[in-house]
Symmetry: C2
Subunit: 461 residues, 2 copies
Amino acid sequence: MQLDPVLAQIDADLGKSVDRLLEFLSIPSISTDPAFKQACDAAADWLVSDIESLGAIAEKRPTPGHPMVVGHITPSNSDDLPHILFYGHYDVQPIDPIELWNRDPFDPQLDETTKGKVIRGRGSADDKGQLMTFVEACRAWRAVHGKLPCKLTFFFEGEEECGSPSLVPFMNENKDELTSDVILICDTTLFQSKTPTIVTRLRGMLKEEITIIGPDKDLHSGLYGGLAINPIRVLTKILGSLHDERGRITIPNFYDGVMSLTNDVDTQWRALKFDHTTFLSDVGLVIPAGEKEFSPLEMIWSRPTCEINGIKGGYIGEGFKTVLPSQASAKVSFRLVGNQDPLVIRENFHEYVRNMLPYDCQVHFEDYEASSGSVMSTDTPAFEAARNALSCEWPDEAAFIGCGGSIPIAGHFQDIVGVTPILIGFGKDDDQIHSPNEKYDLESFHKGTRSWARVLNSLTQ
Amino acid sequence: MQLDPVLAQIDADLGKSVDRLLEFLSIPSISTDPAFKQACDAAADWLVSDIESLGAIAEKRPTPGHPMVVGHITPSNSDDLPHILFYGHYDVQPIDPIELWNRDPFDPQLDETTKGKVIRGRGSADDKGQLMTFVEACRAWRAVHGKLPCKLTFFFEGEEECGSPSLVPFMNENKDELTSDVILICDTTLFQSKTPTIVTRLRGMLKEEITIIGPDKDLHSGLYGGLAINPIRVLTKILGSLHDERGRITIPNFYDGVMSLTNDVDTQWRALKFDHTTFLSDVGLVIPAGEKEFSPLEMIWSRPTCEINGIKGGYIGEGFKTVLPSQASAKVSFRLVGNQDPLVIRENFHEYVRNMLPYDCQVHFEDYEASSGSVMSTDTPAFEAARNALSCEWPDEAAFIGCGGSIPIAGHFQDIVGVTPILIGFGKDDDQIHSPNEKYDLESFHKGTRSWARVLNSLTQ
């Protein structure tokens, strides 16, 4: 089937494509906060209805958490056609600090900026906008040719931003239905906001909430100050010791399983000429703050981290209160690489904390997500076909790169379905995902949609 | 004038006295939170009206913050009568964590407990209930004798719980009006919940809010984790280093001006046989957590402290968010003793923090209250008369003690008016002031009121 009329149709339909995305973005599907459960459900319904309009047999499928959406398109005479599965997620991050948004995060719009038009709103880049690039490519293809060039399965999740608790059980139960020849995922970025990429290396994730408990009630520091243990003091002592002066993490055996780069990968990464100065200056920083002996790309792609993502204790309102609080807590996450074992690290972290606890303090751990890092093997025709298709759409040649984030679904497809997924995405470094004023460039959306048409064409030749 | 009928009147009027206090407690006069400005004003109005009913010429006096209440009672033929001033504060602490209260903190009531009746509600012990013990003693005296045995000035503040920003300017401007022969303050406790006391030593207070600022926006730890500086990590490193392994504070020159106890005071304090085991076990603790070489009473009465009263950064809602926040902040307070200079310590603290700041981080300091510790000289007839009066009301002999809290007004009376105040109070260790479920024992309120009648009698013989 011909590609050029599909690309022309994408160009012609862009305005309507944006309108559909804005409607999708207006649903506040924050998965981590139970208050938004109904909105997550509404976002799933919206997707079912939208892919049904493409001819899919689609369903919202219940889980103990937010529902999955699964849809299948089977063109007539499809026996010889390849089967492609596409994955994206419809849930979004919380919106706080809300006071830093320039507009209602769920009243999205197309904004003019000095760098061009952007689609502004929570989820525009992560991941509703990216998800819709693929859906819109399918819509255009069907509008021009009456049918798709492949069998297609849509698989949309609603718990990606809260640790995907239902994902693995669902994939195990529906393994046959999710098996296909090629798996495509759209949740990544252009390299340096311009080079198209296929991500072949992801960091894993371990998340822990720790609560230090001291006195059984809040105390007045005038009565007890100097005599009673203060849980915030204990918590800061523990967290403040997690990194040494060189930026290395001090938990025993933490680096077991971390490997050096191969010469081949090292060469590829050097060729990318990563401009870390611009990458940092975009967010008001100058100096790489990671382990001193590693390059900036290694810091974000191949080295593990330990970060405190949230901390809370005592009086945090306006003014002052001289309280010694009963407890203090922090959310700590680790990005993992290579063969680091998240469950072993969790145990070692627990023991590290317990060893630093003074008398009269207890600790409570709330265990969240634990996933390993992954490295994809790229020596299959599909990877090369996808890379060529991307190179045709964008000025730069497409590159195989690493990614500092954790997309556990990639490993699950490898482990459960036995297919190595191809991760393609069109986000830019300044999209402010997970932050106030998240946006997705209209260029990302438009050329992203065109890219998927090219990839579909290339994979089905 | 006769004392016994006054005591009998106090006993007979107890029910109505409690009702008046409950009405006063229902006004949510939280001074630190601007949302309660009107309630502070209403509490001041309530006091004006109440002391007018005792024959006072009273006024709400404006300040840049919450108003002062000043009232004067001048009995006929009062030229030879001593002039007594009484100070208390009508503002209260915030109520969070609200979920730990057993009832609405501003819907107070008389509760039955296994230890007897208590008046439950925010401010019941600190300081509205204590303030009203004196007012009710005056009311009974007037009911019996038709007039008071002294000239009397009431001086009530509404900013004690938020650092008293308007107090010193107001006292300086109204110095003559606030000058008297004896100054009484009711904002302290019984020793070990049973021995009546006059506090002769108070710790000073230095309060600082520090904010560490890193990237100019919140970042996604998948994109920037390992490369960008994390302000929570910086903050915990700094705060976690403020105490050494022996519990000593590590800020340079912090202990300049801290003095050892005199043998005399040391002997008095040993005679009190402080039961720190019970004091700690009341709040679920076992071991004194202060400087190892000092006694528990020294830890709270004569040693300086550094406490983190609140800390906040990143995502603190339900669930998880892998954010690297743009900033993190903490409220830090120091209790000061002897000749420690709060302004020098503030400078040294700022420098200590700045010296630990990594590249790419800024710090913002919000300076709050700074006051020195104070030690009263007790060799005047008034101190001895007050001590004797208290010993008559309670089973134990009254004692001169220290106090771990900061009541800066005491020092201001010494510095501005030139009179050493007498600090008497009837709170108990389990009153949970500044905490959820604050209460004031009915016994404290009743015998406290009787105590003031005895003190008035003793001072005017």
